[in-house]
Amino acid sequence: MSIGEYFNFVFSHTVDMFNIVENEGHGSVWLVFVIGIVFGAIIQYSRVDKFEKIAGFAMGKDTIIPKMLFLAIGITAIFLYFEIKMGYASYHVKPMTLMGLIIGGTIFGVGMAIMGKCPGTGPISIAEGRVDVAVGAVGGLFAGWIFTKYYDDFFKPLMGENYGNTTLVDVSGDNAALFVLLFGAALIVIAIVIPKMELFDGDDLEQLPESERPDIKAKKENESFEVVK
């Protein structure tokens, strides 16, 4: 592929992306774009895209992520059940490819702890000027390339058998409403009772007067420091 052909390829496939979305029937391009804007704004405004939030959770020093995540899931689980019951939405359940879930989840957890981001919060950090995350995104693109290239020969067999797209709603039969309510309520309670712990992120530190900043103090005295709130 020459350079000219490459740019043509990139351009035509980017145009395709918009056409596919427009014709797919899952919202117009503008609606999907606006969903993205709101998604980015919520994550940015609650500042859960910060390294100190996700890596801090991994270290057991910050609990904003699990609190917000479990609350969101609990509320959505309850209302989504009724939304679907009323015919305003439907299920889109991911398959139970057990080996893929376990191997993938393990690798994902390691990556998330070191990067301090997940694939959804990463781009929002890049939009905020975080160079390290942009480098991580390049790593991610390489992973996407390798996964695509060796999907048939290596990754698909590795992911193993699909044990069905089962949900709690399926197995609880007539009591589904009750079980979903309990599931959602339990998650909301968990979100509330997890003790609130917070680390300063870099921007919190910049707001502090210099005399109170643990990082500057440590630099002067040449010792290690904590950024606990």
């Binding site: 992306m17 390294f51 994902f108 981001k117 929002i124 991580g136 949900t167 709603v169």
Partner: protein, 168 residues
């Protein structure tokens, strides 16, 4: 203190966005945020979808998330510039300095490796924090609960051993 949403306000707003996106008034599908990566990789590395079964498989969800991602970049950028005022070019996060080291090279190498692991893991599992945790567990899917459990364990173990514990 900086302007920020509390965890419960963020959680409620995220739930509303999920419910809207799921509904027929929204997109009639869940939110996901990792299928766009192989989709973009396919474009950037010049891979023709006709030659790769995986690209054919993710053609539609990849495109949808690809457009959503563009929105997320715009939303994240404007919020960081005008609302939280946290936009700045930075390489090492404060927490990395405190609990790992001061080296730019170390942070960038680990970023590359962890970015690679994140996407490889998400693709093997078929989803990420958005697709599995938020959208999947909201549908009470067992696949997502397994993913969530495994991620929680390895996240906490990695956090314990990768970073310095008590800096005394």
């Amino acid at each position: 203190m900086n302007r920020r949403l509390s965890w419960w306000m963020g959680g409620i707003l995220m739930a509303l966005l999920l419910l809207f996106t799921f509904s027929i008034f929204g997109a009639n599908r869940p939110i996901g945020a990792s299928t766009y990566v192989p989709y973009y990789a396919g474009i950037i590395f010049g891979m023709d979808p006709q030659d790769y079964t995986y690209l054919q498989k993710v053609e539609k969800p990849g495109a949808w998330e690809g457009v959503m991602l563009l929105g997320a970049l715009v939303g994240g950028f404007f919020t960081s510039v005008f609302v939280t005022k946290t936009f700045r070019i930075s390489v090492i996060p404060a927490g990395w300095r405190a609990y790992k080291n001061n080296s730019v090279v170390s942070r960038l190498i680990w970023s590359f490796i962890s970015g690679f692991l994140l996407i490889l893991g998400a693709r093997l599992a078929g989803g990420c924090t958005s697709g599995h945790f938020m959208s999947g567990m909201s549908q009470t899917a067992f696949s997502s609960m397994i993913f969530g459990g495994v991620v929680l364990v390895t996240l906490l173990i990695t956090g314990k051993f990768f970073y310095k514990g008590d800096t005394k």
